[in-house]
């Protein structure tokens, strides 16, 4: 009996063929249903999970907040490209506020300095002592932050998943070598290492900064995944797959990775959060950026170190303003991981499914849903 790739794919879902259709490898049926199967796969792996995740209020809130940040970033990008769309709309609506480049304006008038929030609607959130409009500065920092998060999250998650899975499953020399690399990368404290690297490379591209910050974060994630794979490969259903002679990549893809999805998604969010935290810390310490409010960390630095917002009474707003987007972005990332946890976590899903279909519990134990 010749088994092709298509046949195996068909075996995944007993509902499509009742568990009999592909048993005899009928190539005609395979050809007819290929397009249909592709559509079903798309429905199962993209549409249905999204609907399930959307059911959770946490995912809704997270995606709304993230959507807000992306929309802000797009508006600022347009503005940087010379399309002052936002300001045109605001002017038509009769708003006195307009987005400006948060560079310290030369020869500014006194009434522009340290405007309190909600006093003068030309500067809704107030201004710093140097006259920079706080709302403009807040919005202006968004695109750079999103670029850093994207670069860092993708880089570290990909690195961690590959290294962790391979080292955990392969064992032997591969595991020793990879584990040593992970050990070394993990033993170097992230922030100090990034600080030294930033001093040498002096990056200006947000993508480079994002990757630099995650240059050793992936090791921690790889370690978590590694220890998970170690206990997963001892599970009976993985052992069963091995005994049946299923190829290693296939086992990793079908039996191991689905169980790792909660870790992978949580870790992506974790890495993204580290990028948010560390980049703000680097900007706050004055190690990145050039005298312009291009990051919320620079605004914290100005408020705390330059204008003594903590000790001079009535200036706390300078410190509180950049905290709002920082916490909002961080919260969106965490809510996203929480909301999708139920979707990707087979155990939690089994438990919830078990409330209606008791008998399925044991089946899921042997062969967890992909």
């Amino acid at each position: 009996m010749k088994r092709t790739e298509d046949d195996r794919a068909g075996d995944d879902d007993p509902r499509t063929d009742g568990g009999t259709g592909d048993m005899f490898g009928d190539s005609e049926i395979t050809a007819v249903t290929r397009r249909q199967r592709a559509r079903e796969t798309f429905d199962e792996s993209v549409v249905a999970p999204f609907k399930v995740a959307w059911d959770d209020w946490r995912t809704k809130v997270a995606l709304l907040i993230l959507g807000g940040f992306v929309a802000t970033a797009l508006l600022v990008w347009l503005h940087q490209a010379g399309y002052t769309l936002l300001n045109d709309v605001l002017r038509v609506l009769g708003s006195p506020w307009e987005l400006e480049v948060p560079r310290s304006p030369v020869g500014i008038t006194d009434e522009r300095r340290s405007v309190r929030p909600f006093e003068n609607w030309q500067y809704p959130l107030g201004t710093f002592d140097n006259g920079v409009d706080i709302l403009s500065a807040l919005l202006w920092a968004t695109p750079g932050m999103l670029q850093m998060v994207l670069a860092g999250g993708v880089f570290s998650t990909a690195m961690a998943t590959v290294v962790g899975t391979v080292s955990g499953y392969k064992g032997g020399t591969v595991e020793s070598v990879l584990n040593t690399i992970v050990d070394i990368a993990m033993s170097i404290p992230g922030l100090p290492l990034v600080v030294v690297l930033v001093a040498i490379i002096q990056p200006s591209s947000p993508y480079v900064i994002g990757v630099l910050i995650t240059i050793n974060i992936w090791a921690g994630l790889a370690r978590t995944i590694h220890s998970q794979v170690l206990s997963l490969r001892e599970k009976s259903y993985v052992e069963a797959s091995r005994t049946m002679g299923i190829s290693t990549p296939q086992i990793i893809r079908k039996d191991i990775l689905p169980n790792l999805m909660p870790y992978i998604t949580v870790n992506f969010v974790y890495a993204a959060r580290r990028v948010v935290y560390d980049s703000i810390a680097l900007y706050y310490l004055g190690l990145l950026g050039g005298g312009m409010a291009e990051n919320w960390g620079v605004m914290l630095d100005w408020a705390y170190n330059l204008y003594n917002a903590l000790t001079v009474s009535g200036k706390a707003y300078m410190l509180l303003a950049p905290m709002v987007p920082i916490v909002a972005l961080s919260m969106a990332l965490i809510l996203l991981s929480q909301g999708t946890d139920r979707l990707f976590n087979p155990r939690v899903r089994t438990r919830h499914a078990g409330e209606t279909v008791q008998e399925d519990d044991t089946d899921c134990e042997v062969n967890p849903p992909a």
Partner: protein, 338 residues
Amino acid sequence: MNWYLKRTGQALFTLWAVVTIAFVLAWNVPGSLVDHMVDRIVQNSNIDPEIVRESIESRLMFDPEASLLEGYLTYMSALLEGNLGYSFVAGQDVSTTLAEAVPWTLLVMSLATLGMFAISLALGAIMAYREGSWFDIANTFVGIVTTSVPYFVAAFLLILWVGYSDAPILELFPPRGRQPPRIDPGFTVAFVWGALRHAVLPALSYIITGYGLLALSMRGNSIQTLGEDYVRVAELRGLSSRRIALRYVGRNAVLPLYTSLLLSIGFMLGSSVVLEQIFQYHGVGYWMYEAIDATDVPLMMGTFIVITVCVVIATFVADMTYSMLDPRIKSGDQGEAY
């Protein structure tokens, strides 16, 4: 080969590799940094730049003009003797400065770690048992909100809160420094109490922002474990819920958190650079910032190496104890060791 022997060798190799990486970074940096330092000193005085340069280079641990191998050998031999070089910022040997600063950072870190794990393990387990109850929902919400606050933002907020509150709180939890003035260091009640009070706010910044995620993952792990067959069997056998909670659920739910403990140690040591700067707490992180700010290479590399050694030792100890906690992870010759 004995697994413990192998793991010890691995730890030593890691230490060597990290020190070498530090050397490579330091080797690449000095040119510009020495120039920078000379510029800074010459700007404020009329000393001949060449004399300043010579005095700075004589105090580096290796001659920047020497060959790579020569520099590496002098650097390594100096390190083995415990010589980390001379710090211009601190005005004394780097090893003296750090030996004095490390215990303070460890005080804050151990307070934070203990508090964080005690709170999150207890909370997470209770939340999992009462999944879906108002207690679970309220704590999940609070946990998500506090986790969303970065540690440095929490630090600012704590200082703001203490500063804007009445004087008693300000005196109880001083937001600046690491020990009360006018009290001699030593094992006296006044000094220990004062040091603890000064460490509370920095430790709280870690605890408040860290317990949430840990409690939620403890909750998740417990829920996963609660779904396992052996727990159901234990229930059917009529074992006491206390025994099930501690021996069956707790132990298995805590295991995955063991790795987060490791990560949190590295994270705390790294982020002490920011936090100790905010609280003006003179620990390792404070000196690292001062070193970077003044481009003091020996102090920079010294703090870097010391922090790294702390993390390597912590990882080593945790690895040694992990197989005791989880017998499923076999240690031995099979190469399956954690």
